[in-house]
């Protein structure tokens, strides 16, 4: 088992390297750089930029050097906690992002747990009551969840939260807790604000998961061992709990790889609309102003989160399912 985990972690390294190369290429692609747009913006306002400082920054971040050198400089910095410099905020990236990374992780984790808690019973109900009114109803609600764009759902929920609860739900905590150290009150405030984004982001993921769980469980329920168990007179509930459900559990854990990118994507869009203190709003601003290291670090972080999530689910699956081959190597 230890060997499998080590092998799995080692396999992550080339993936992450390729991702970093891709991300770096993308943020390098726009013509010009932050300084050019910054200087021209200042000129347009009739001001003069501090050229000396800009030259200093340019030299420090090697803008005179070829792209490959800069890439390795950037990636090398990761290992010592240096993610580059945010030109817009005039601060190292690691200081700018602050709590945002943790809040993103927190939001994604809570959303996944929410998705599981909701999708599991619904999926089982839909599979065991195939073609019943309950099944159709739940499937329909789930499809609506897939079809309504996240940002519209966010706006509408914001509106209704305003009317019904009289609270403004923009943000992930009350204003006075921003930039405050972690305290009990702050956590409570986060919990109070969290449920709306979780609900919005979770809907689409839940619907997809219910659909896959239902299909999976239906396949399992048609297998011969279930027929045998029924023929022996076992009660349907016992049959369900004893075998097919356990099989479906495995699927449940491995499905994380497919819902995690969707959840993170949805979280970004929702965060921008609701102006949550996660990576979303800052990422889009950084992309628009060509604040390349900030944008690049965010993209890298989101990809890392996904890769890590898949790793955790793979390891959990290996622990749960004895049939997973531990020898390593891709299975064909």
């Amino acid at each position: 088992m230890v060997r499998y985990i080590l092998w799995r972690i080692a396999a992550m390294v080339p993936t992450l390297f390729l991702i970093s190369a891709l991300v770096f290429t993308i943020i390098e692609l726009p013509p010009g750089d932050y300084f050019e747009s910054y200087v021209s913006e200042l000129r347009a306002m009739g001001e003069e930029a501090d050229l000396a400082e800009i030259e200093l920054l340019k030299a420090r971040y090697g803008f005179d050097q070829p792209m490959v050198v800069r890439y390795f400089h950037w990636v090398g910095g990761f290992f010592v906690g240096d993610f580059g410099y945010s030109f817009e905020y005039r601060l190292p990236v690691s200081e700018v992002v602050g709590d945002r990374l943790w809040l993103t992780i927190l939001l994604s984790t809570v959303t996944i747990i929410f998705t599981w808690l909701l999708a599991f019973p619904i999926g089982i109900y839909s599979a065991t009551h195939q073609y019943s009114w309950g099944d159709y109803g739940l499937t329909f609600v789930g499809l609506i969840g897939i079809a309504v764009p996240n940002f519209m759902l966010a706006l509408v929920m914001m509106y209704f939260a305003n009317i019904w609860f009289g609270t403004s739900i923009g943000g992930l905590m009350a204003r006075e807790y921003l930039d405050q150290p972690v305290s009990w009150d702050k956590l409570m405030s986060i919990a109070e604000h969290m449920w709306i984004p979780v609900l919005i982001i979770g809907t689409a993921g839940t619907a997809g998961m219910v659909r896959r769980l239902r299909a999976n469980l239906l396949d399992e329920l048609q297998k011969q061992y279930v027929v045998t168990a029924r023929a022996k007179g076992l009660h349907p509930l016992r049959i369900l709990l004893k075998y097919p459900l356990r099989m479906a559990l495995n699927f449940f854990i491995s499905d994380i790889g497919s819902i995690l990118p969707a959840i993170i994507s949805g979280a970004e869009v929702t965060a921008i609309v609701l102006s949550l203190e996660t990576t979303g709003p800052m990422l889009i601003k950084a992309l628009q102003s060509q604040d390349m290291y900030l944008a690049g670090s965010f993209l890298m972080f989101l990809a890392f989160l996904t890769v890590l999530g898949v790793l955790v689910s793979d390891i959990a699956l290996a622990l749960l399912d004895p049939r997973i081959r531990l020898g390593g190597g891709s299975s064909k």
Partner: protein, 393 residues
């Protein structure tokens, strides 16, 4: 988890068993097939029959055909032209169409409206003037337009009465008719899905096909690239690529750029499906037979392998279109997708960007309805196609 086996009768009664006593006829199925003509049916026919059985999928298919046909003639369908502004009716709410007047069924009509300014809340208030009856006109002359940017014309399916106005879904902040803009928006939103999918389809078949058929280093490389692309969440990646598009590009170039971005990143799922199917199919006997008869790999892929999983692929491709339409909508809504004067549903939804607007002018959210309907329809259609794609199951 292990419980000792116990007699089932204790807490639950045993399930009922039943067996038919009728004599068993092993040839019944053959005879039935010959009677119904299914014995000689081609795979295509069987797929079609199976697809027809899916009522919802079939209805969705018809709906999508209709809505795609409508984008060919949206100039005629829309009551107004795309950029027609009516400064007297800014933020006018939707108008109702009445068919009953004084207890009698009459030609559909609307009421004329009077606008007053509420100076206290700084709002425009529109009130129906029940004396001013404006009967609708059909197949009538209205705003001039150039059909497909070629032929000047002014025929519309539906127009307001002469001198009146008709805003079935209200107007926006410039006094433009929301319904007309929604009908025009379909053109862009729906083509983006189709163009993007055609691109990812071609990429998926070529890359996945080569990887699956030849294997080796290329296969390993492709697998890695797919893994990398799939582990970056799609919307942030789209955002990053959309941000690259220079501000100086014309809206048409931006449209092409966004389509390419959506298509370029979506092929991974299809390539994976093609690859795994090819790996399974190339071991089949008929492939070996073709090889022995001297067929080249190109011919084997085209003639023998692709037909084997094409139907399956089309079904999966159908299921990826909604993601693209939603992606375009989200990007445009966030302000980094398409730009006006190109009009898509996402662009229209940017009008409904804040909670205040939703509270005051909820009809600006109307473009979300076609988005939802189209996405639902593609989902149903894709599910139906997928079930039909494997007719021997």
């Amino acid at each position: 988890m292990t419980t000792p086996r116990e007699p089932a009768t204790q807490d639950h009664p045993p399930l009922e068993h039943s067996a038919s006593t009728a004599p068993f006829d092993p040839y019944a199925a053959d005879r039935l097939a010959t009677d119904q003509g299914t014995a000689q049916a081609t795979p295509g026919q069987i797929m079609w029959w199976r697809f027809r059985r899916h009522r919802l999928a079939f209805a969705s298919g018809i709906f999508l055909c209709a809505i795609y046909a409508s984008i060919l003639i949206c100039e005629v369908l829309a009551p107004y032209s795309l950029n027609r502004r009516n400064t007297d009716y800014i933020y006018a709410p939707p108008q109702a169409v009445h068919v009953i007047r004084d207890g009698q069924l009459v030609w559909p009509y609307t009421y004329g409206r009077e606008m007053t300014l509420d100076m206290e809340n700084l709002r425009r208030i529109y009130r129906d003037d029940t004396d001013d009856v404006q009967p609708l006109r059909f197949f009538c002359r209205g705003d001039p337009y150039e059909f497909w940017n070629l032929i000047p014309a002014d025929l519309h399916l539906i127009c307001p009465a002469k001198g009146g106005e008709l805003f079935l879904l209200g107007t926006d902040r410039l006094g433009r008719d929301v319904l007309s803009r929604m009908i025009y928006g379909a053109r862009i939103s729906l083509t983006i899905g189709i163009l993007g999918v055609s691109m990812s389809f071609a990429l998926g078949i070529i890359i996945g096909g080569l990887a699956g058929y030849h294997g080796g280093t290329f296969d390993l490389l492709v697998q890695r690239v797919i893994e990398v692309l799939q582990s970056i969440p799609s919307i942030p990646l789209w955002m990053a690529l959309a941000a690259i598009i220079p501000v100086t590009w014309s809206p048409i170039l931006v449209f092409i750029g966004i389509t390419v971005i959506l298509g370029m990143l979506d092929w991974t799922g299809l390539a994976r499906a093609v690859r795994s199917k090819l790996l399974a199919l190339r071991e089949e006997d008929y492939v070996l037979a073709a090889k022995l008869m001297g067929a080249g790999s190109g011919r084997i892929i085209r003639r023998h392998l692709i037909p084997g999983f094409m139907s399956h692929l089309i079904a999966s491709a159908t299921l990826t279109i909604p993601g693209m339409i939603l992606g375009e909508t989200a990007l445009s809504f966030l302000g980094i997708g398409l730009r006006p004067p190109i009009t898509s549903w996402g662009i229209l939804l940017t009008e409904a960007r804040s909670v205040n607007i939703i509270a005051l002018y909820p009809w600006l959210m109307a473009p979300v309805i076609p988005v939802i309907l189209v996405i639902l329809a593609f989902n149903f259609l894709g599910d139906g196609l997928r079930d039909a794609a494997d007719p021997y199951k």
